[in-house]
Structures are given as C-alpha cells and as structure tokens.
Symmetry: C2
C-alpha cells in the first residue's frame, strides 16, 4: 500500500466578532470574540485533514505560533506510521525534551497540540472513509488503547483495566449504534441565557427553544446574585418543574463564596453548578461538591481542565458529578479517550462542553463513541449545544428533536468553509479590515 | 512628582547551546538549550526594567509571541499607577476576558506574565534605588499585601491572615537582615551530577565542590535504576554521612513506580525526592509523600507548579515537605509572595528552584525576603545553585562559603549583558549562525 506522506501544515488565525452582540458572554469572559487556530495538513496525494482549537480572540496568534512550532514534528511523517504508534506520536508532541518546559500538557501548547492532532484524526477518518465516531466504534479495542498515553494515570486506570472496559462494552454495541442513528444523542441548550442578554432576549429565546423541543437549559450566573435569582426564577417558571436547569459560573468564585452563592440558587433546582471556581482547584471543587450534595446539586467542570492528570484527580477526589470533556482543550481524541475511560471507571457521567467555534461539530463524535463503546448509558448524560457559527463549517452539526444526529460524512466534521476562513482571517480578512477601520 | 510613563517593551529570544555539553540534562529533558524570553521595558525618562522567563530552547519563540501580546497592557501605563494597584494590574494581565482562555494562569501565558512583571518589579526597584529584596523587606506590610492576588486561595489563606504573618515577622527583622548581609543565604549545588555526565566528570566536580565548601548536593535520577544506585553510592561515599544529598527525578515516574524506585535509593539517605511525578498530580504527590515518610524521605516540588492554586492544594494535601518556588514559572514576585505566605501558614519550608538562565540571580531576592520578613527560620531551608551562565548578567550572583551574598545593586539582578543578548539571539545571533551553518 502506498503510504500517505504529510507534506504540509498550514495554520490560520480566524476570529468572529461575537462580542458585538454579547454572544458567549459570561461572568469571567464578558466580551469574547469566538475564534480558532485552524490547522490544515496535506498529504502528498492531496488528501487533507482539518483541525482546530477554540479561543476567545486575543491571544489566538500565540496558539498559531505554537501550532507552527509543532508542525516540525508532523511534516515528513506518514499517516500510517503515526497511527501505527499513535501513543508514541502523542508523546513526541507533548514530551519533547525542550518544548515540554513551556507546558507540560497545558495552556497554549496543549491547545496547539489539540489543533494539530484533531487534524491528524480528521485525516485518518477521511482516509478510512468514515466519520470519526464510526472509525472509533469500529476500531479494535487493542488498537484504541494503543492511541492512549497512560503516563501519570496508571494509579487510577491501567492499560489492562481500560482494555477490559472496552471489551465488556462490545456487548450491545451494534444495537446502541442503531439507536443513535435513529434517535440521535440528547443535547441541552446554552443559547438562551448568556450573561450579557437582556431579560427580554432571554424570554424570547427560551420560548423559541421550548417550541423547538428543548427540555434542558443552561443559565450563566456569577456576576450579580440578584440578577441570577431573577434570571433563574424567570427561566424556571418558563420551563416548568420537569425540564432540566443547569447553572454555570465560569470560575467566578472562591470556594466559600461558591457554596454560599449556589445555596441561594438552590430553590430553582439546578442539576449542576458548572465551573464554580478555578479550573485548577481539585480540592476546592471537592469541598464545593460535598457541601452542595445535600441540596441535590452536582458539580460539573472540565472545559478548562487541561489534561488527563487533572481529570484523574477530580475523579479520585469525588470533586465532580459530571465530566465535561472538551475536544480542543485536551490533547485531541487521544487524551479524550483516556478521560472517557477514567470517567467510566469512576462511574461518573460525561456531558461534553461544546459551543464556541466547531466544538459541537467535533465533540459529538466523542460522545457518540462514549455511548456506543464505553458507557452504554444515557442516564444523566447530555451534550451541550449552542446555536452559533455552524454556518462556517462544510458539515455542520444537525440537531433534530433536541438531539445530535450522528454525522455521516468522512472525517471529524472539522473542515471550515474556505470563504469563512478567508473573510474572518485576523487581521487581514475583510470582516476585520472593516471593523478595524471603523 | 513626575510619573514614569512606560513607552516601550521589547522582547528577545536568547538561547545558549548548553545541550552540546549536556549541562542541565535530566531524565525528562536530555538535551536542553538553556534560554530566556528577555523583556526590556523603558520609561519616558530613559529608566529601564529588565525581566525574563526561563525556557529550554525550542518554543521560546512562542513565549516571545505571548510577551508581545501582553505588552499592550503595559505600554502607556505609568509605573506609579501600576504599583499603586499592583493587584489590579496583576489581574489585568492574568484575567483578561479574551486572553485568559489560553491559560488561565498556566503554561506559555503565565511564563510570559512572569517575564513582563519581572521587568516591572526590576523597574520599580531601580526607581527606588534598592535591590529588590530590600525593596520588599522595607515595604509596608499592607502595601505588600496589596500586590497579591488572593482570588482562589482564600479558603487556605485570607488577606487578614497574610497581613498578620507579615506583622508578626516585623519582630527581629533588622537582626535577620544584618545576619544575611554577613553570612549570606545557604545554598546547595546541582552542578555536579547532571544525568548526562560521566562518573569521572561527576567525581571530579564533586571533589571540587567539596573543596569549595559545599555541603549539600543534588543528583539527577530516574532514567535507569542501576545507574542511579551507582551514582548515588558514589556521591554518598564522597560527601560522607553528614553532608546532605537530594535526588531529583524531573517527573519521570508514575505514582507506584516513584514509590518503588525511591525506596530502592533510600539507603543513600536522600533528604528529598524532587518531582517524582507529573507536576499537576497533587494527589499523586500526596500518596508518594505518605509512602516515603517512614523512610525519612520528603517530597519536594514546584519548579513546574504553574500557579498559587496548585501550591495551595499541594500544601492542603500534605503532598510536599519542601516548597520549590520559581521566579519565572509563577506570575513574578506578586504570585511568589502569595506562595511564601501560604507555605508559612502551613509550616512548610521554602527551598527555591534555581539554575537555568538567571533563575539564581532572581530567586535569591525572594528567599532573602522570605527569611527576613516571613519565615524567620533557616531550618531545613536552602536555595538551589547551579554554576552556569552567570557571566551573561551585569550583576551576577555572588556565592561565598556555599551561600548567596545579598545583592547590593538596585533592581532584580535581571539585566543581561547587551553583547550576550545579541550574540545568543535566536536564530540571528552569531553563536547560532555558526551552529546552524555547521
């Protein structure tokens, strides 16, 4: 077989001026311009793989710089050699003797790793002619395990235990795949209640979402307690007692403040409080989780959890009741696989973070795999959905009956439209040229 | 008074080809080229401040890119306004609504924050005509507290508790300052036993160090157990039973492996095992510390601990017995102040990480402040020293009788020689032009 040599990796700084309308605004990020560092790898035969990592505007150029630095590890390699020892390739990118100092496996360099490896996974799935979730579902369990870096997590999950989880889940796999193709994966919406939205906007969007069949709603909180009480009350009244409400503070509080503030919102029966404090504070999340358990409120976190070592500890410390993986914060599919398996070992449901730019497109693949090949359960599980910026993708997500419809096109659904990349290129694209001139 | 307006910030990528001789080599970083992102800020009146963050070669350009991104927050500000609300300025850099996504407070962006704020502290100390340690020692405790970001650590240390620590330590301060000026701060050496050194080199360097009066020695371990046993045995024989031996694995192991491996080295009576596993693994370090305590071996870590939230948890979990602050990994003096105070609250000694490029020059100021104004104790305390690259600084460290002599020149000892910056500039400096051509 002719091997596919990677001969090029290009990367773009693509930004959408979402701050103009406060889309995506929360207690810690009042004015995000949803953006991506967008990587395209190309093989000698002309096959391309597309990958991205999500950012909020300023600083995207730093991630772009990091992707360029990582490209030296990719260009010249053959796809087949990479996936033959994907664990080794993961370690090459994340544990280079010089580069690891500026991480390791965190922040800018890990975001860049995600962009590059997302492109490699997209390329692999395209080469196999399958959507990524199907590539994973069909993959031999031993092969899947060989993609995972177990360094630093063997005290919680050994390779053998991980393999056993996958082998046990072979049972009923085809049936669950059928079910997903027919029903889709359950979603919840965050589009109704960004913190910068007025009550009027909130009511209107919530009414529309109810009419569209949504039953699970997330509200941004944490900037002002009286505002939170008013907004939660408003939403709870509109959605009724049986629909699900979640709240999200985006790291606004210290530990004691989180417990006090959320206790004041308990009357609105939120299923979870998301990101109550610093994403690095495992013991803080554990203290919050313990204090809120009697109120029936769980802790959810993960969108800024930078690697598997952090998720491992959150699980070991019973610091979270909902694991929120992110397709672009962790080191791509490889590291997400380890976290899905860790979550299963500890019996904690995975409810992915999505939204931003392309996060819905990507993470739907991972959660489909989780249901079909790992957890086999939908209990307490749902995937975030935000209704923004999908029009810039060549294979945008499809939502039917408030559920993700499994993608059918080959790849990781990560390809953006050429026009979108060009017009939103920062700072030279026409969208930004106009904005910067005015 | 005329305020000092900052009108420029320039940054350079400066690399030293240390990998050619295996200086700095360890189990995870076999071939470091010790480097810095070097920032220079300049005021309207011509006063300059110099700051740096340490890196290992590749990837320095990413940190440089991040420093450039942060310069927008600095240029146009007045030094006096910055230090009037230094906590606010710290938060401006670390919690920008868009930029924080690519951290927050970790990895590349935190390293860049350190470089920029180190330059601001240097500028401040120069403006006051004092070495930085003396600026800190003379500063009113309330003013010191106003430089510290307490977000996310109030469950372990409140502002009030921190102030009380400083106020209590006023007692005996002048005497301790006198003592430091006469005796210096005790140091240990890492220069003898890098992992890439031959046994002959190790013996020779150890003999020389003993002759120079060193009594505390660190050995790199973790690549090969038999090598470690041979090297530790050799060093212990040379230094005798009364001198201090420490071992450093630079994150090489998983948790169980760390316990097993270090147990095999217990016969050589190391004071501590440094970085046994992932720098992110608080619970892992706690498990290792608990297992090794009966052997009389403590756990030391911190050089890759990315912020105060991580140190807080390491202390809360009794995961370390020696706190190793780093002047360029944490967010400059501001964040180091919070960690010194946390360590004191928990009764754990601080033994700074140094070496690299400029780390000795900078961190000596912090540990002098710790002794004089916070801990008041030298028990189980010492500061790392590595005998490399000091010749590139305008005010290099001075070591006498294996102790750091307190610097007397104004500033943070962070200014590099113009010639060194120019000739080692990457990739255009003459040193690299020659190497890249050959």
């Amino acid at each position: 077989m002719l091997k596919r040599k990677i001969i090029n990796l290009s990367v773009s700084d693509v930004r959408f001026p979402t701050s103009l309308e406060q889309h995506g605004s929360d207690a810690m990020h009042p004015d995000p311009d949803y953006s991506v560092a967008y990587a395209v790898i190309e093989t000698q035969g002309g096959l391309k793989g597309y990958g991205l990592t999500f950012t909020l505007g300023k600083g995207t150029e730093i991630v772009v710089c990091a992707v360029k630095a990582l490209s030296a590890f990719v260009i010249g390699k053959h796809l087949e050699d990479i996936v033959d020892d994907f664990r080794g390739f993961y370690r090459l990118l994340t544990s280079d003797g010089q580069m690891r100092w500026i991480g390791p496996e965190k922040g800018v360099i890990q975001l860049a790793t995600a962009a590059v490896l997302n492109a490699v996974w997209d390329l692999w799935a395209r080469a196999e002619g399958k959507p990524l979730w199907k590539l994973l579902v069909d993959m031999d369990p031993e092969k899947l395990i060989s993609c995972i870096e177990f360094r630093y997590i063997t005290d919680a999950l050994t390779e053998k235990e991980a393999l056993d989880i996958l082998l046990r889940a072979q049972d009923g796999k085809r049936k669950r795949e059928e079910q997903m193709l027919q029903e889709g994966y359950p979603a919840y919406t965050t589009s109704c209640a960004w913190i910068g939205y007025s009550d009027e906007q909130l009511k209107e969007l919530c009414m529309k979402a109810l009419n569209d069949g949504w039953t699970r709603f997330k509200v941004k909180v944490g900037a002002d307690l009286q505002d939170d009480i008013r907004r939660c009350s408003l939403i709870r009244k509109m959605i009724g007692p049986d629909n699900v409400l979640m709240i999200d503070a985006n790291q606004r509080w210290d530990v004691a403040e989180a417990i006090e503030w959320v206790s004041r919102l308990a009357e609105f029966k939120p299923l979870w409080i998301e990101e109550p404090t610093s994403p690095d504070d495992i013991l803080g999340h554990a203290a919050i989780a313990k204090a809120l358990a009697p109120l029936g409120i769980g802790v959810a976190t993960g969108e800024q959890c930078h690697n598997r070592v952090m998720f491992k500890q959150l699980l070991q410390a019973s610091a979270l009741q909902f694991v929120q993986i992110d397709s672009c914060r962790l080191g791509s599919v490889n590291e997400n696989l380890s976290v899905l398996l860790l979550a299963h070992k500890f019996g904690v449901p995975v409810c992915p973070h999505a939204g931003g730019v392309g996060l819905c497109e990507l993470v739907q693949h991972l959660i489909l795999f989780d249901y079909i090949s790992v957890s086999g359960s939908l209990e307490n599980r749902m995937c975030e959905y935000v209704d923004h910026l999908h029009e810039h993708f060549t294979n945008p997500v499809i939502i039917t009956n408030a559920s993700y419809v499994p993608p059918k096109d080959p790849g990781y659904s990560s390809e953006m439209k050429d026009d979108s990349v060009k017009s939103h290129g920062y700072p030279d694209g026409e969208v930004w040229q106009k904005l910067l001139a005015s």
